[in-house]
Symmetry: C2
Subunit: 406 residues, 2 copies
């Protein structure tokens, strides 16, 4: 019997009625003759509530104890879903991450799955059970509960689909699939029927929050087909899979934007080898994630270094940059925490050199100044002012996505 993995996020299981809704959907798949493994997240805002409780009892929150605490959220949901399914006459059993054989490393709060011991799940499937697995959690080699970080339930689902050779990993969410732009900003945004892993990875890491980037990497590595779809209707969603021929998918996949961007510049940095290394090593030591970097050459033998970080990282980055400015003898520094990034993503880009020029032209026509540009084989990103980002997304979508042949 074919195996299907279905993953439901926190908004899909936020209250008892929604849990029964999920149970009905799982039961329908079972009725279609499939073996079903269901992965669920914690109900609604449970995780936030638990984090608040932790902050209320102590000033420091040890990572191991946070994992002990947060893992309870998913454990509640799996038990409730198994109870709901049983009540509808469908044999079901809930399994914690540990019981489901999700073996991780010991990096609490951000553990990585190292293997899946599928024995218990196989046993339960053979007994005819629907298997309900706690997402987001696993167990390390010392019998300690670990969690995979925010959005980790997607990764749990993909890992189980890979280990059990499922025919598809369905990720249920509150939207119909992956869109060519955020539908809340661009009403003309179209659902993407199919997208490659690489394009989805770019979209995921560029701020399209539908799927966790790590789960897409995992799916790519193991060749798992992901189907992103709505838990509130039966519409076909978006398939994320290895795309063989150009004809299978649209040429341009979509426009993504991210407003969690801050820009930092160092001026008149002496042109000596090793200065960039010195700066970015110092930032890495403070765990600052640097995104785009631009170094512009001047005639004078001095240059500017400009880079972007998330706004959350800015307070940690600024003291480091100030120190480095003094150490290397730069003229000064500046920053702007109201920047945004707009990107166009598509596998067709590499064979179509006009895309970048088209994007710059669209932005120029809108009188939007481009601060920084970065490109890869399948995406072009521009850093612009935050208050221009919505206009930029709409214009790029209208001129470059809607106009191309479907």
């Amino acid at each position: 019997m074919p195996i299907i993995v279905q993953k439901f996020g926190g908004t899909s299981v936020a209250d008892p009625d929604l849990i029964r809704n999920v149970a009905r959907r799982v039961a329908k798949t079972r009725d279609q003759g499939k073996q079903v493994i269901v992965v669920v997240s914690a109900m609604g805002h449970t995780t936030d509530r638990l984090v608040e409780l932790a902050r209320a009892v102590g000033d420091c929150t040890p990572e191991r104890e946070m994992d002990m605490l947060l893992a309870t959220g998913e454990q509640v949901t799996i038990a409730l879903l198994a109870i709901a399914l049983t009540g509808m006459g469908y044999p079901a059993i809930s399994l914690t991450g540990a019981q489901a054989g999700i073996i991780t490393d010991n990096a609490h709060n951000r553990a990585r799955i190292v293997s899946v011991d599928q024995e218990r799940i196989r046993q339960e499937l053979e007994k005819g059970q629907i298997v309900v697995v706690a997402g987001f959690q696993g167990i390390d080699g010392r019998n300690e509960t670990t969690t995979l970080g925010r959005g980790g339930s997607d990764t749990t689902a993909v890992a189980l689909a890979a280990a059990l050779n499922a025919e598809v990993c369905e990720i249920y969410t509150d939207v119909d699939g992956v869109y060519t732009a955020d539908p809340r900003l661009v009403p003309e945004a179209m659902k993407i029927d199919c997208i490659s892993y690489d394009e989805m990875l770019e979209l995921a890491s560029l701020g399209a929050l539908v799927l966790q980037a790590r789960s897409v990497e995992y799916a790519k590595h193991y060749g798992v087909t992901i189907h992103v779809r709505s838990s509130f209707n039966d519409n076909r969603g978006t398939l994320v899979k290895e795309v063989s021929g150009m004809e299978e998918c649209r040429q341009l996949s979509g426009v993504a934007h991210d407003v969690n961007v801050a820009k930092i510049g160092l001026f008149d940095v002496p042109d000596r080898p090793g200065i960039a290394k010195h700066l970015f090593k110092a930032l890495a030591a403070e765990k600052v994630d640097v995104d785009m970097i631009i170094q512009s050459w001047m005639r004078s033998g001095k240059n500017d270094i400009v880079f972007t970080v998330t706004r959350d990282d800015l307070p940690r980055a600024l003291p480091v940059v100030k120190r480095v400015v003094g150490e290397v003898g730069a003229a000064g520094m500046d920053y702007n925490d109201h920047m945004a990034k707009v990107s166009i993503v598509g596998a067709g880009m590499v064979s179509n050199p006009g895309v970048a020029a088209d994007m710059f032209e669209v932005l120029a026509k809108e009188n939007i100044n481009i601060n920084m540009i970065s490109t890869s084989e399948i995406k072009i990103s521009c850093v612009i002012e935050e208050d221009e980002v919505i206009r930029a997304v709409k214009a790029i979508h209208a001129r470059m996505i809607e106009k191309q042949p479907a």
Copy 2:
């Protein structure tokens, strides 16, 4: 370094402030040079709330899934207490029942502890950690989470105290200890300084809800000294331990009462062998717990059988009794679900035959009719009408407990 086990119930950890209060008390014990193992229950009404959620999603609540669900309650508390202790500068680690080596049988919802694997706890104590253990839960031989039934955290604490040879098992509660009567009914009730296991067992099973009866059995079996005390002050509470000499403890320990009593009578039952067996086997098959049984002989060769059950069991008991009345040819049946039981408990009873007579005299003076009587070596119980029970408790306490030499 001596080991102390401290157990805090749900009311002692009901919110973040109370959890920090518990942490301060644990820290103080640590400062006194003790190794501390803390056992905690779920916060406040968490368990009730989880049961409600389960009922909201399904009509049937499989026992295994209920254990999966309910075990999360204690897991939240252990993480929060470990976080609170760490925040105060006291190294602490939380352990689930499974991690703490609480091995049980596989009777979900009412599991019994079969052994304690103390290796992990020993390791953590040797590292200087305060070990915070989830009460009420364990793991069976198939890696399944089990729970010990309501009040099971007391049993967890006593089992750990026994396995690790702790000098005392402190049970913290919202009263100062075990009293000679319920202080809410009898303001003159006195705290008992020390009480034997057998007397405590009688009090526990007679409705004094301070300690779970099974934990007292466990403590008796392993010779664990229990100290019942308040989590809100430093008063010395009640020691429950093996009492060697009469001089050590008061002659009468206390008055207990229980209003969860229903009485069922069968009239004119033919006097043939095997009828009682037939009746009580049929009741046992429906899982009805029978407490007191009285069979009164008549001259006519017929007799009455009267017995008590809890009020919760009455709906299951009545159809059985009606059926048996027909099968054995009795004249009829009757029941009363407004009965109560009042008991006096004390180790001195066996050597003092006047106690029973004194008790009957006190009730007679109060014009309280005794329906049924049962006695053991250390207790005398009378079944009376529910609306007379408070008067009975007060009178027995005043005439038999307050009057005796302290």
